[in-house]
Symmetry: C2
Subunit: 359 residues, 2 copies
């Protein structure tokens, strides 16, 4: 969402992917971990989800070096019933856990029509949309959710209780990009507050609060987010966050987000025990695929045909992301000044060749 002029340079996506994998390898991550992390970060950055994209590599390297994240995990799937399973991630990168879990859910959905996997002992997985998208790319309807440490006020609470607890949903569209929703249940994601602070940009009103629970537009003063719906209707965002919490932590027998160690540290040695939840549905478990696809196309055509308010644009969920992906696949992934410096530092520290920085 940050404007293009705030960026320092652009970097080719494939070059960035290689750089990320090399850096992770040097810090001890095995091949499946490296591939999952680079896939998720590049996917997010290409779609314009900069808050959850390549910006996060320095953080992940710290968590890996510190021992919080296990770079060579043994993931264990326990399929307790034909449509449900729990995946113990052995403190893996959340990205590896996420791609594995959504694949298991797809496999179950092919067999019994629907599949859900709760993930235990995991870590930050980046953008939830990556995993929902991975299901849609196989012709399935996918959902992904995750808890996190507290950043978001309850409706009426002084201090944060829930994480930004995202919900992602993707559905396949024949001959087109999937429908894709990826949203925090707070008004904006926490990472975006940090990003606004980094570029010294004002936050919209009624979405963030200081330590005393007062709302603020100064990103550097923001210590908590309001739930989606703001001061008046935040019980809805808080309720959705509760749903995410129940599915992500309780089904995985993990601590709820309020009890998690903070993502930002300072402790980078203790595994955090993040929980995720993945749900996949096979459209053919409900109707003929041709009917489903015809209805999807009719719906999206109806939606995109709606007249916009002057100066606005009507888009289906994901349309903005596919536009960005098209542009960035050609022009490269933009880095802001802080990110560019961070990547230069990593290159220096790890003895890697510096990325080619284009204007």
């Amino acid at each position: 969402m940050a404007e293009e002029q705030a960026f320092a340079c652009h970097v080719d996506a494939e070059e960035l992917r290689c750089f990320i994998e090399q850096a992770l390898e040097i810090r001890g991550a095995d091949e499946p971990s490296r591939q999952a992390v680079s896939r998720a970060l590049i996917t997010a950055s290409l779609m314009g989800t900069d808050s959850h994209g390549v910006r996060l590599l320095p953080h992940y390297l710290k968590a890996l070096s510190g021992g919080r994240i296990n770079g060579a995990p043994q993931l264990r799937l326990n399929r307790r019933l034909p449509g449900t399973a729990v995946l113990n991630a052995d403190n893996a990168f959340g990205h590896l856990a996420g791609y594995r879990a959504i694949q298991h859910a797809c496999d179950m959905a092919r067999e019994v029509g629907i599949g859900a996997v709760a993930v235990s002992h995991s870590s930050h997985f980046g953008a939830a949309g990556c995993y929902a998208l991975a299901a849609a790319e196989q012709g399935m309807i996918g959902m992904a959710m995750c808890n996190s440490d507290p950043f978001v006020l309850l409706h009426g609470s002084k201090r944060p209780f829930h994480g930004t607890n995202p919900i992602a949903f993707a559905a396949p569209v024949e001959g087109d990009n999937p429908l894709l929703l990826d949203m925090a249940t707070s008004a904006i994601p926490w990472n975006r507050v940090q990003q606004y602070a980094a570029i010294d940009r004002d936050l919209p009103p009624d979405i963030a609060a200081t330590t005393t629970g007062e709302t603020t537009t100064d990103a550097s003063q923001a210590e908590a987010l309001l739930p989606l719906g703001g001061a008046g209707f935040g019980f809805k965002g808080a309720g959705l966050a509760s749903m995410v919490e129940v599915l992500s932590s309780m089904l995985a027998n993990m601590l709820n987000g309020f009890r998690l160690l903070p993502m930002a540290g300072p402790d980078m040695t203790t595994p955090r025990g993040v929980g995720h939840f993945f749900l996949v549905m096979n459209p053919e478990g409900f109707t003929e695929r041709a009917y489903f696809q015809a209805r999807m196309q009719e719906y999206l055509s109806d939606l995109r045909g709606m007249e916009p308010v002057q100066g606005r644009q009507v888009m289906a969920p994901g349309d903005r992301e596919w536009e960005q992906r098209k542009r960035r696949s050609q022009q490269g992934i933009p880095l802001d000044w802080a990110q560019r410096d961070a990547y230069r530092d990593i290159a220096l520290q790890l003895g890697l060749e510096r990325l080619n920085e284009h204007p």
Copy 2:
């Protein structure tokens, strides 16, 4: 949400249940239909969801008499895969379709861990929370969704596109009432706008719009609702509404909400083809029930222990509803003046004994 002083009288819940069933019987509804409608309306009214409670009986009687709703339907379940099914509701009351579908989903979840039922050829089902609750009462995690005719703007559209497309979620809590979320993906439900108009009360800002897409606080001028998130963040509410639409209409091979006949008529003879979606998860498909319950209790205790902002109260999803249910089970269900007159009219027209109206 309307203040108690706006009510004309209170009526005993059991008496109201009998009255509703008698009225429906006279208009030709069979026993399963009568029981399902009265159960859903009384459940909603007891929980304080007045917009979707006993207020709707006059509307349902019209739809039944007109032939839009089939009072003696033959529902047909097609379980296409072990965890997924479609229920053709034969233009039944949505309440009957809803209770049947969530029961089928519970049965599948007991067997394979998870079950989802898409419902085709249905009608308005009242409050989505009723069906999620029915699953939680069996120790299951339940979800319910429904499309409707357009009331809600897209993010940036001039005219309404989505229905209020509700999402309900309920999870069982041992020895306590379930966690229950029941929310429209608009900022407020459309029925509540009508209710505010009836009692001449101002709407909050940034949640409703006139025919030209301008926001308004005058309930009588409101012709459309903004999606949850309002003018700034409505892409989230609109995205959630898309998710509901895909699951409720596309999986059931029904028309999307934009193409539905309006609930309010004037056509009360043509079935509308409303779609619903129900999802049930068995906690035991993921972890031991004892672990799940311990985590739920820990979470709710953490949540309810949070310090509120001065003058506010911190509540878990459903807490407000259970308080209302306790009060109304003792004091009766309140009727506003319009509802009281409507129930008097029904008694007169159908030759039923008038309800005992308490202050």
